[in-house]
C-alpha cells in the first residue's frame, strides 16, 4: 500500500483559516467559546473539538525585519506514534494510508496519549452519560481517513486555495518539499523540511520558513523512552498478570507518575481540551 503524506508549505499560506472551517464542517465539530488571545489566533492549540489551528507568529528575522508567519497546525500522523504506543486499550492504530486514528469505542479516556504526544495535538473531550456520569474520549485529526476511503482528499487540503497544502504519495511530496526549500532559501535562509526522524518521520510534512522552534515545535521530537518501555515491556507483562481493565486503572496511576514528559505537569498537558 502506498504511504500518503499531507504536504504543508507554510510559505504559500495566507492565513485564511478556510482549513479550520472545512475541518469542522466535514467532521461535524462544534464551535468552542474562544477567549481573546491578544493576536489573530483563535485557539492556543488544537483541542478535541478543533483539530487544526492556524498559528499566527510575528517574528523578527535575523536581518531584523518583521516576518508574519502562519502555520496550519494539526496531527503529524507519526510513523512511530507515541500515542499509539502508550494506548493500553489498542484504541489508537495505523491505517493502510499511514494515518493514525483513534477508535472512540475502545478509548477509555485514560489520557496517556495526551501526555505523550510530542506535539501536544491529541486532546480529551468530556462527556456525560444519561446517568450524569462523566467520561472522556480522545480526539484528534484523522487526516479525513473516512474521505480517503472514498478516494477523496482531506477536507483541509481540498479547500486550500493558495496550494499551500497538497496530498499525495510520500515520495512525491518529499521531493516537492526539497524543491520548494531550494526555491525559497534566498528569501528564507532558515527554510527547512520538518519531517522529524525521531518519530520515524511523519505523514504531515512541512516546509517551514523558519526554524521549528519559531513555530513552537520541538527541534528533535522523539517518542519518549518511557513510552517505549511501557509499550514494549511493562504493558504486555502487566496485562498478562492483571487483565486489561485493571491494568488500565493501575496504568493511569503509573503513567501520571512516570510519563510527565520533560518536566511538564499532567494537568497542563491534558486538561486544555474543553475549556
Amino acid at each position: 500500500m502506498t504511504e500518503y503524506v499531507k504536504y504543508v508549505d507554510v510559505t504559500k499560506c495566507d492565513g485564511c483559516r478556510a482549513c479550520m472551517v472545512a475541518c469542522k464542517n466535514w467532521n461535524d465539530l462544534p464551535a468552542e467559546q474562544t477567549e481573546f488571545l491578544g493576536s489573530v489566533q483563535s485557539h492556543k492549540k488544537t483541542t478535541a473539538d478543533t483539530w487544526n489551528v492556524l498559528q499566527y507568529i510575528e517574528h523578527d528575522n535575523a536581518k531584523g525585519n518583521l516576518e508574519y508567519l502562519f502555520r496550519h497546525s494539526s496531527c503529524f500522523h507519526c510513523t512511530d506514534a507515541a500515542c499509539e504506543k502508550v494506548c493500553p486499550e489498542h484504541a489508537i492504530s495505523y491505517t493502510k494510508y499511514g494515518t493514525v486514528v483513534v477508535d472512540q469505542d475502545k478509548c477509555v479516556g485514560c489520557g496517556y496519549c495526551v501526555n505523550n504526544c510530542p506535539f501536544e495535538i491529541i486532546a480529551l473531550k468530556e462527556y456525560k452519560d444519561k446517568n450524569g456520569k462523566e467520561y472522556r474520549k480522545a480526539h484528534k485529526c484523522t487526516m479525513c481517513t473516512d474521505r480517503l476511503d472514498e478516494g477523496l482528499q482531506p477536507a483541509c487540503v481540498t479547500t486550500c486555495h493558495t496550494g499551500a497544502m497538497e496530498f499525495g504519495n510520500k515520495t512525491d511530496m518529499l521531493k516537492k518539499a526539497e524543491q520548494r526549500v531550494n526555491e525559497i532559501k534566498s528569501r528564507f535562509p532558515n527554510a527547512n523540511i520538518y519531517n522529524p526522524q525521531g518519530v520515524g518521520g511523519t505523514h504531515t510534512v512541512y516546509v517551514l520558513a523558519e526554524r521549528p522552534s519559531v513555530y513552537g515545535l520541538p527541534e528533535n521530537p522523539k517518542v519518549p523512552t518511557s513510552a517505549v518501555l511501557w509499550k514494549d515491556y511493562a504493558q504486555p507483562i502487566g496485562k498478562m498478570m492483571l487483565g486489561a481493565t485493571t491494568m488500565a486503572v493501575v496504568g493511569a496511576y503509573i503513567s501520571n507518575k512516570i510519563f510527565n514528559k520533560e518536566g511538564k505537569g499532567h494537568d497542563e498537558d491534558g486538561g486544555g481540551s474543553h475549556e
Partner: protein
C-alpha cells in the same frame, strides 16, 4: 492577475479579504511576478509581498503622485502608448491654472469649481488640438509633469511617513513595468475609495497605469476588489443613486435640460465616441420599463421617471432622515446601525421614520434598533418596524457579476426555511399588490407606477427567466431577443433593460451566463465560460495591447492584432473595438472608444475636484498639508453641526482606520450568526503598536476605550509589531486600526467601530471617509 509582472496592492488586503484573488497572485509569483503591498499596517498581504511600504491613512495621492513623478523624471513611461492612446498631446485652453492647491474656477462659497475653465483647445470643427511631440508647455503631458514635479521623494515621504528606502523600492519595482513586454496591475479596495479624495485616489492609479502602458494588456489593469460578490452587478444595474442601468445619468430637476427627453439626450450625448449611441440605450430602457405606455408621442415615457431634486447619496439620505424629512424606508440586506458612518447618528435617524421595512436573513442591529439592547427605550420609539425574512444566496437562482464583468448564473441549492423568500419575489408581490391597490387611481402622481410594464408572470411566482430576457431586450417588431446592443434603436422598436448586458441572451434557451465550458480558448480568457459584458470581452480596452499599426506591443502580452489578409482584428479575445476598422481607417487607433476622442484621460476635466489628483488631508488630520494651504479637498461637501462633529488633533491626536477580517463579512449580520466563523473571531479588538501601548500603559489583551468626536467604543487591545508609528514632518504620529464587523446581535457581539467615523464623503462619489479619522485611546479601567 496570473500574467502580471508586478501587482501593486494598495488600499486593499486581498490575502485577508479577497483570498481567492491570492490564488492567482501565487501563480504570478511562481512565474517571477512581484507583489508590492502598501498599507498603514503590515497585513497578511504584506507578509506575502516582495516589497512592503507603510503609509499614513489618507496620503495615497502624495504616495502615487510621487510615483507618477518618478516615472516621468526617470523616463520609465511607455512613450508611444502615451502619445497615441491618451490625451497627453492635447492642448489645454488658457483658462486652466493651478495655484496653491486650487485649480482655476473655484467658488469658495459653493465649495465647487466651474469646470468650463478646464476646457481643451479644439479646432473649429470640434477636434482636439494636439502636439504629438508632447513639448508644448500647454499640452496635458507638460502640465502633468509640472503638477507632479512638486511630488519629489522627500516631500512625499514627509507626508506619508514612508521610510525612504521602502518608498524607492516600491517606485523601482512597480514603475519598471513601463518596459514593453511587461505588465503591472493595481489592486485596490475600500482603503482607496473611502476617503474625501477617494475618486482622485483611483484617478492617480489611472494616470500611473496609462503612463506605464498597463491598460488593455494581460496582467495589467486597475482592479477594484469588490466588497461583495455582486457589487459589479449592482453598480451595473444602477445601485448608485445618480445612475440608471448601464451607466446612464439619472435625470435631475437641477439640470434644466433634463426637463424633456430631447433636452436630456442632447446634453448627455457626446458627438463622438461610442456614447454617441446613447439615445438608443435610453429609449430602449424606457421601452423595457414602460412597454406599450412608452410611445414616440409621450417621449417614450421619459416623464414617468422621477427627477432628482437633490443629492441622494447615503450620507445625505440619512441626514434627510435625521432631519425628519422621510416617512419610511425599505432596507434590503443592509445594516447601517453597524455599517453606516457615524453609526450612532444613523441609529437615531431611523427613529425619525414612521415606518421601516427590513428585509434580511436575521434580525440585524438595524431591524432591532428600537430595542433595549440597542440602548433605546422601546416605548419612546414611534417607528413601526416590519421584518421580512429573506432567502440566502444558496436558496435562490439568478446571476452575479464579478469584477471582471463576468455575469455568472447560479442555481438554487436548497429551499428556504420558514417564510423566507428571495428579494425578487418580495418586490414582485409588492409591485402586483400596489398595482391592484392603485388600479383605479386618477391621481397623476400614481401614473408612473401604473404605466410600469410588469410582465414577469402572473400570481406570486415570478418568472426569473422573463426578467433576464427583459434585461437582454427584444426586437419588439419581430418579437425576437436582441443579439447585440449594436442593433438597439432609438425609435421605440427595440427594448433593453440594461444595454451593456444586451446580447447575453441572444435567442430562446441561450442564456450565456449559464455557460460552464472550462476549456481555455487562448490567453486563459475562457470565452465560453459565462458571459462578460460588453459583448463577452474579457480584457477591456484590448485595442491598447497592440501598437497603432495593429501589431502587438510584445508577443508575450499579445491579445488582439490586425490581420490584413482577413481585414479584421483577431486574437484570443473579443476585440474591444469595431473588428473591421483598420488601424489606418478614421478612428483606427482610438483604443478607448467610449471616450469622445477615443483616448484615455490623463487630464480629466469632468470631475468635481480637479483634472489632476492633488493631495489634501483627510477631514480629520493630525498635521497641516505641506503641499498647499488647502487642508481639506476644496470640493468636498462638509455637513456641519450635530450630525457630523469634528475632532481636533489636540484632543484626538491618533490616526485611525477600519477594515475587515477574513472570517466576518460587512456588518457581520451573516457571519456573527455562523458559529464556526464566530469562534474564529469572537471579540472586538483594536490593533495598536508596541510604542503607543507603552506610551499609554496598555498591555496586550487589556480592555481599552477608543474615542472620537462622535463616540466611544470599548475593545480588546491587540498590541502588535505590525503597526509602527510614523514620522510625519519630523513628528511622531501614531495610527491604530480596528475591524468594523461588530454589533449587539449574533453569537458574538462587540462595540461598533463606526460609532467613531465621520459623516463626510468624497467630492464625486460621496462615499464616506471611513478610512482616516482621528481618535484617542486609553485603558478601560
Amino acid at each position: 492577475m496570473q500574467h502580471t509582472d508586478c501587482a501593486l496592492i494598495m488600499g486593499a488586503n486581498p490575502a485577508e479579504n479577497h483570498p481567492i484573488s491570492f490564488r492567482w497572485l501565487t501563480k504570478a509569483r511562481e512565474n517571477g511576478g512581484k507583489i508590492v503591498s502598501v498599507d498603514p499596517r503590515f497585513t497578511r498581504t504584506s507578509s506575502q509581498a516582495d516589497v512592503y511600504a507603510p503609509l499614513r491613512s489618507g496620503t495615497d495621492i502624495a504616495f502615487l503622485g510621487g510615483m507618477i513623478n518618478y516615472t516621468l523624471q526617470n523616463n520609465l513611461f511607455h512613450k508611444e502608448y502615451v502619445a497615441a492612446y491618451t490625451n497627453a498631446s492635447f492642448i489645454v485652453k488658457g483658462g486652466y491654472d493651478f495655484n496653491d492647491g486650487l485649480f482655476s474656477g473655484y467658488n469658495a462659497e459653493k465649495r465647487a469649481y466651474d469646470k468650463t475653465k478646464w476646457a481643451l483647445e479644439t479646432t473649429p470643427d470640434g477636434k482636439p488640438v494636439k502636439d504629438p511631440t508632447l513639448q508644448n508647455p500647454r499640452c496635458v503631458f507638460q502640465l502633468m509633469k509640472k503638477h507632479y514635479s512638486r511630488y519629489d521623494i522627500d516631500s512625499v515621504i514627509a507626508v506619508t511617513g514612508t521610510p525612504k528606502e521602502d518608498y524607492l523600492n516600491v517606485c523601482k519595482t512597480f514603475c519598471g513595468t513601463g518596459e514593453v513586454g511587461k505588465s503591472g496591475t493595481i489592486m485596490y479596495a475600500m482603503g482607496t475609495t473611502q476617503h474625501t479624495v477617494g475618486t482622485q485616489n483611483v484617478r492617480s492609479y489611472v494616470i500611473l497605469q496609462l503612463l506605464l502602458g498597463n491598460i488593455g494588456i494581460p496582467g495589467g489593469g486597475i482592479n477594484a476588489m469588490r466588497g461583495e460578490s455582486n457589487v459589479q452587478g449592482s453598480t451595473d444595474f444602477a445601485l448608485l443613486y445618480d445612475n440608471l442601468p448601464g451607466y446612464l445619468a439619472a435625470p435631475k430637476t437641477l439640470v434644466p435640460e433634463h426637463a424633456t427627453l430631447e433636452g436630456y439626450l442632447k446634453i448627455e450625448t457626446p458627438k463622438t465616441g461610442y456614447w454617441s449611441n446613447k439615445p438608443k440605450f435610453v429609449v430602449s430602457l424606457l421601452k423595457a420599463w414602460y412597454g406599450k405606455s412608452a410611445t414616440k408621442d409621450n417621449e417614450f415615457g421619459y416623464q414617468f421617471l422621477p427627477k432628482a431634486s437633490g443629492n441622494y447619496s447615503h450620507i445625505n439620505l440619512f441626514k434627510a432622515m435625521y432631519d425628519g424629512k422621510m416617512d419610511g424606508a425599505f432596507l434590503f440586506g443592509t445594516n447601517p446601525v453597524v455599517g453606516g458612518p457615524n453609526a450612532g447618528k444613523e441609529k437615531e435617524a431611523l427613529s425619525k421614520l414612521k415606518w421601516l421595512v427590513a428585509i434580511d436573513l436575521w434580525e440585524t442591529e438595524t431591524a432591532s434598533f428600537w430595542q433595549k439592547e440597542a440602548g433605546n427605550n422601546p416605548s419612546d420609539i414611534q417607528t413601526e418596524v416590519f421584518l421580512l425574512p429573506a432567502s440566502a444566496s444558496y436558496e435562490k437562482e439568478g446571476s452575479i457579476s464579478n469584477s471582471s464583468r463576468w455575469m455568472q448564473y447560479r442555481w438554487k441549492a436548497i429551499n428556504s426555511r420558514g417564510e423566507a423568500r428571495p428579494d425578487l419575489e418580495v418586490i414582485h408581490e409588492l409591485a402586483l399588490r400596489l398595482k391592484n391597490l392603485y388600479a383605479n387611481s386618477a391621481n397623476p402622481a400614481d401614473k408612473p407606477f401604473l404605466a410600469l410594464d410588469w410582465n414577469f408572470g402572473s400570481g406570486d411566482e415570478v418568472d426569473i427567466d422573463l426578467v433576464a430576457k427583459e434585461i437582454n431586450g427584444y426586437d419588439i417588431s419581430k418579437g425576437k431577443l436582441m443579439k447585440t446592443f449594436g442593433d438597439l434603436k432609438d425609435d421605440g422598436t427595440t427594448s433593453s433593460g440594461n444595454w451593456i448586458y444586451s446580447g447575453f441572451y441572444p435567442g430562446e434557451g441561450m442564456n450565456l451566463s449559464k455557460r460552464r465550458d472550462s476549456k481555455d480558448t487562448g490567453g486563459e480568457n475562457y470565452l465560453n465560460w459565462s458571459f462578460a459584458w460588453p459583448a463577452n470581452r474579457r480584457i477591456i480596452y484590448n485595442r491598447a495591447s497592440a501598437d497603432p499599426s495593429g501589431k502587438p506591443w510584445s508577443e508575450k502580452k499579445a491579445v488582439i492584432h490586425w490581420d490584413a489578409l482577413q481585414n479584421k482584428w483577431v486574437g484570443n479575445d473579443v476585440p474591444d473595438f469595431k473588428a473591421v476598422t483598420a488601424p489606418t481607417a478614421p478612428g483606427g487607433t482610438g483604443a478607448f472608444m467610449m471616450n469622445k476622442d477615443g483616448v484615455a484621460l490623463l487630464f480629466a476635466p469632468t470631475l468635481n475636484d480637479g483634472p489632476f489628483p492633488e493631495h489634501y488631508e483627510p477631514f480629520e488630520s493630525p498635521v497641516p498639508n505641506p503641499f498647499s494651504s488647502q487642508q481639506l479637498n476644496p470640493a468636498a461637501v462638509v455637513i456641519e453641526g450635530d450630525f457630523n462633529k469634528k475632532g481636533d488633533k489636540s484632543q484626538f491626536p491618533i490616526v485611525a482606520t477600519n477594515y475587515r477580517v477574513s472570517e466576518h463579512w460587512q456588518s457581520g449580520s451573516m457571519t456573527r450568526n455562523q458559529e464556526w466563523l464566530s469562534e474564529l473571531v469572537g471579540h472586538m479588538f483594536v490593533e495598536i503598536s508596541e510604542e503607543l501601548a507603552a506610551e499609554k500603559g496598555i498591555k496586550n489583551k487589556d480592555q481599552i476605550i477608543v474615542s472620537s468626536a462622535r463616540g466611544e467604543v470599548k475593545a480588546y487591545a491587540m498590541v502588535t509589531k505590525r503597526f509602527k508609528p510614523f514620522t510625519i514632518q519630523g513628528k511622531k504620529i501614531h495610527q491604530i486600526g480596528m475591524p468594523w464587523h461588530f454589533g449587539y446581535k449574533g453569537f458574538v457581539t462587540g462595540d461598533t467601530a463606526n460609532r467613531l467615523t465621520p459623516h463626510i464623503g468624497d467630492a464625486n462619489s460621496f462615499i464616506p471617509e471611513y478610512k482616516a479619522f482621528l481618535c484617542n485611546v486609553r485603558r478601560a479601567d
